[in-house]
């Protein structure tokens, strides 16, 4: 079931292993007199590994469960089934001491650098807040760590006493990255870290993230919808649709040879990089089904142009159809 990236080295334990993860939410619909309780299956059987010093990316459209997956890895949501392993250990049964370690080892950077910062807090306090977990550090040491992190992201150490409004959007995102770095993490979850930035700033941030990875060996779980960005950033890519992983492979294999009809449709819908570029056109019919009412069999079958009768009956198996290339589709 699980896609074991790098399983060939049998003794290698990936930094993070996500195994058959299910995250459900209870929602209600209808008037107060006629309320219906429904289960929204936001994440419905997702497995992947995040290896050391590499980037695993999740792509998919809104509502596919990519952010919920990331939040579960961050231990902000509880799975109803499946588990997240950190260096082989289930994150839901860590001791208090280990939990603290996990929280500094796994950091996050979110999409909007405006809403993720309190405008009344100096960036010194913003950056050092996660360091309060570590009671042994003195104030002076925290300040030093924060200044070090600031210079790592290309800002001046002297900026430390400024307020968020004194920074531009791109600089704020650098500050958010500095906060993640200050805890000396192993992994950073990056949830659409560049999509709210100006085009000319995006490249700065992406290059910064790549440099940090190369020099410091961070692992990234990267969530994005812009496919060019994903190709540029990733070592591994998983494609999600309606709570489930449709395809997973080494990044370049996936982009050169997408197999699953959903992946192909997603690629064909991407905007061209040049005029007169004609892509293979695979149009999906209709809209994404509701996550409270996921179709039987393959969840894509009502929209898939290649659907066969069995697609509506039998759930396709997760198979390694080429070396290090997994997909769940009856065509393979």
């Amino acid at each position: 079931m699980a896609a074991k990236s790098g399983k060939s080295k049998s003794d290698y334990v990936p930094l993070i292993q996500v195994e058959d993860l299910h995250v459900h939410f209870q929602v209600s619909r209808g008037s107060i007199f006629n309320r219906e309780r429904l289960t929204l299956r936001a994440v419905d059987g997702v497995s992947f590994d995040v290896t050391h010093a590499q980037t695993f990316s999740i792509v998919g459209e809104s509502g596919c469960g990519k952010t919920t997956t990331a939040r579960t890895v961050l231990n902000l949501e509880k799975p109803v089934a499946g588990r997240v392993l950190w260096e082989g250990q289930d994150i839901t049964d860590l001791s208090e001491e280990q939990k603290k370690r996990y929280r500094s080892a796994v950091q996050a950077v979110f999409q909007d650098p405006y809403s993720s910062m309190n405008p009344r807090i100096r960036i010194l306090d913003f950056i050092t807040e996660p360091l309060l977990l570590n009671a042994r550090l003195s104030n002076a040491e925290r300040r030093e760590r924060a200044q070090e992190a600031l210079t790592q992201v290309g800002l001046r150490a002297a900026d430390i006493d400024n307020f968020p409004h004194e920074f531009s959007g791109g600089q704020r995102q650098r500050v958010a990255i500095a906060r993640a770095l200050a805890s000396a993490p192993n992994m950073i979850v990056l949830d659409e870290p560049v999509s709210s930035l100006d085009v000319s700033i995006r490249a700065q941030i992406m290059n910064l993230l790549k440099d940090l990875q190369q020099n410091q060996g961070y692992s990234y779980t990267f969530i994005a919808h812009h496919l060019g960005t994903v190709r540029y950033m990733s070592d591994w890519v998983g494609v999600m649709y309606l709570g489930s992983m449709m395809e997973l492979s080494v990044s370049e294999d996936l982009f050169k040879n997408p197999l699953h009809p959903y992946t192909r449709a997603l690629f064909s819908a991407a905007l061209p990089d040049q005029p007169d570029v004609e892509r293979e056109e695979i149009l999906l019919e209709g809209d994404v089904a509701a996550a409270t009412d996921i179709p039987n069999g393959c969840r894509l079958h009502p929209r898939c142009p290649f659907a066969k009768p069995e697609c509506s009956q039998v759930k396709p198996e997760w198979k390694e159809v080429a070396p290090r290339h997994w997909t769940a589709c009856h065509l393979f």
Binding site: I201, A203, Q204, L227, Y232, D273
Partner: protein
């Protein structure tokens, strides 16, 4: 004669931060049935240009202080507010980014599309309903006779944006302004929507003004491209020349800063600094500080508008060098790496 002719447009904003020359001398023209892309980053003045055409700028902070806007032979800046109301939504329509905020949640789609038809065409109730259904059919809403009585929340995101499209074409406009109209949509929905806009353009002989930050939209939809920076159009060309032979360092740098789906770059070219805006005063070129090709002249004196080829202009002292393709040798080494791999 061109359908829309904008000449030397200047729109200034007064805010607590001081004077912002949001649009600082913008000129372009657009023919019937053609598409022009206004591309730029935040603060470049692209939306303010569109809003100046419609005179929907935030008065009294904003003021059109210079230039002219001629639409279909009429001088829009001489129109009374009442006459402008006839033109807005009638002859010139706009689609905004977020369909959730352009639609009113408490009125049915029938009412919201019908309102536009009633204001501009004074049809009887029955004809009005027919016009509403017809425009819904045009934008590909299935079963329009039934859906016409639905409310915005009963439509999915993509369908909602189609309803916004239906409002804008209900009065058969001549010009449609799309201000980041597909930015909030998912990729597959965006592809469907752009396809729809294309076919509407063919059917209705619409002129399109696309306001966007995305070169992909421009590549897919536009005939001509105007690249904006700090309130100015710094480069103007047809779409193919813009991509293949840019003549302004800003355009060239931006194109190299965007990672593509079709190949993997080893390293992207990152333009240093942050986008300039109309708040700052530049004695020379506004892009000077971020430009890899800048020379001393660029700091001290305003660059001229150079015509590098027919219909292709660039506001840069070194436009000829850039156009000739010498750029990579003279200062954008990283960019070249990014492009060829």
């Amino acid at each position: 004669m061109a359908l829309l002719e904008v000449e030397g447009l200047q729109t200034h904003l007064h805010s607590r931060r001081g004077l912002n020359r949001a649009v600082d001398g913008v000129s372009f023209s657009l023919d019937r049935g053609r598409s022009l892309g206004l591309i730029g980053e935040s603060g470049s003045g692209k939306s303010m240009t569109a809003m100046s055409i419609l005179q929907l700028i935030p008065k009294p902070y904003a003021k059109i202080v210079g230039g002219s806007i001629t639409f279909d032979g009429q001088d829009l800046l001489k129109k009374t507010p009442r006459e402008m109301r006839r033109i807005r939504g009638g002859e010139i329509a706009i689609i905004l980014q977020d369909p959730m905020t352009s639609l009113n949640p408490v009125f049915s789609v029938r009412y919201q599309i019908g309102e536009a038809v009633e204001l501009h065409q004074q049809k009887r109730a029955k004809e009005n309903l027919e016009a509403v259904i017809e425009s819904l059919r045009h934008v590909g809403v299935p079963a329009p006779e039934v859906r016409v009585n639905d409310y915005p929340h009963q439509f999915s995101g993509g369908m909602r944006q189609r309803v916004v499209g239906a409002i804008s074409i209900a009065c058969q406009p001549k010009l449609l302004i799309a201000d980041e109209a597909t930015t909030a949509l998912d990729a597959t929905i965006q592809a469907q929507y752009l396809k729809l806009l294309r076919s509407l353009q063919g059917e209705l002989n619409l002129a399109f003004l696309f306001i966007t930050h995305d070169f992909g939209i421009v590549a897919k939809m536009c005939d001509d491209v105007a690249v904006m920076y700090a309130g100015r159009i710094v480069e103007y060309a047809n779409v193919r020349d813009t991509f293949e032979r840019p003549a302004h360092p800003y355009t060239l740098s931006l194109l190299q800063a965007v990672p593509t789906l079709d190949s993997r770059a080893e390293r992207l070219y990152a333009i240093p600094g942050a986008p300039g805006s109309g708040y700052e005063k530049f004695p020379g070129c506004p892009f000077f500080e971020r430009c890899a090709l800048a020379v001393d002249q660029c700091r001290t004196s305003k660059p001229p508008v150079k015509v590098v080829a027919t219909g292709h202009t660039s506001e840069c002292w070194r436009a000829d060098d850039v156009y000739a393709g010498n750029a990579s040798e003279i200062g954008l080494p990283e960019a070249k790496m990014g492009k060829n791999l």
